[in-house]
Amino acid sequence: MDLERTEPDAEPSERDTLDMILDRRREAGARILEVETAKVKLVIFVVGETPLALPARVLVEILPLTTIHFVPGCPPALEGVINVRGDIASVVRLGDLLGMTHAPSARRSAILLGQGTQVRSGLRVDRVVDVLDVTEESIQAPPDSLPEPLRGLATGVFEHQGQIVILLDLDRLFQTLLPEQR
């Protein structure tokens, strides 16, 4: 059996082959990774004690709680308006739409400025928990056990830090306020 070392001049071509194989494997791995990890960026927040989420693509901005100016003649769920760098935006008490009680205003309270298909408005929430990418496959259909009106406004549920988070649909939220679109 010939155990002589490989000729030095053969090494470059062997490395080339190996490099090609590894490169192909890396590319294949990257392709697989891309397919398997379709993700959606979500903003997780809390109203009362309930963890909720909205897709980040429908949220223009997350604002700290600021002065909300009451405007007479509006339903209670419409808390008022805020001045966002010269633009006037309405603010909705999200808890009122969901049948939940808001926690008292605190330093961590926030306003999510949402842009729906037709309507743009702020949503008052009690606390923003996280902004993170969630794999689409980890989002499950909302269970039948969800109470109304939450059930009709949810598009899915997923687990985050040991808690079930309810993913909401912004347009459906706004539509609950607009009587003619119900």
Binding site: T67, V81, R85, I88, S90, L178
Partner: protein, 164 residues
């Protein structure tokens, strides 16, 4: 273009004069062109004009501006009628009671903001037309823009006479 139209265009480009007043903690603005005068209710004791706070559903604001509770004076804000009511203008000009202080402020066009779409769709008060940013440095210095032409009819017609 008529002269009136030209005057209106110039006015819009240059901004408008607003009469500002408070009802409780809320600040309101009315286009000065819509106001015929500001009177002292004490000088017109025969007129029982409604309180604007009542019209807007601000019971707390009314008590806050009541001269009996806080010593602030009330004023009678008299509005001009629209063109359709011109014939009635002399005899039937609506008025409403508001609280002092009252001020006049010129604001630029871009300080006027329509109500946000959601609010406009849901408001039960057509007379609430928008918001006015009164300061470029203080985002919280806002006033609610009222349109007297959209007050309920009963509030714009002749004030009730007190029969003794």
């Amino acid at each position: 273009m008529t002269r009136t139209d030209e005057a209106q265009d110039t006015r819009v480009e240059g901004g408008i004069d607003l009469v500002l007043f408070n009802l409780g903690a809320l600040r309101f603005a009315v286009d000065s062109e819509q106001i015929r005068g500001i009177a002292d209710p004490a000088e017109t004791p025969d007129v029982q004009a409604p309180a604007l706070a009542d019209l807007l559903g601000l019971a707390h604001a009314r008590s806050a501006t009541s001269p009996d509770t806080h010593g602030s004076r009330e004023r009678l804000l008299r509005f001009r009628n629209g063109p359709r009511d011109a014939a009635q203008d002399a005899s039937q000009t609506g008025g409403m009671r508001i609280g002092e202080p009252i001020s006049l402020r010129h604001v630029p066009f871009d300080a006027i903001h329509p109500l946000p779409a959601l609010m406009e769709a849901l408001s039960a008060l057509p007379c609430v037309r928008g918001m006015v940013a009164l300061s470029t440095t203080n985002a919280d210095d806002l006033a609610i823009l009222l349109d007297p032409r959209r007050f309920p009819n009963e509030a714009r017609t002749a004030p009730r006479m007190i029969h003794q």
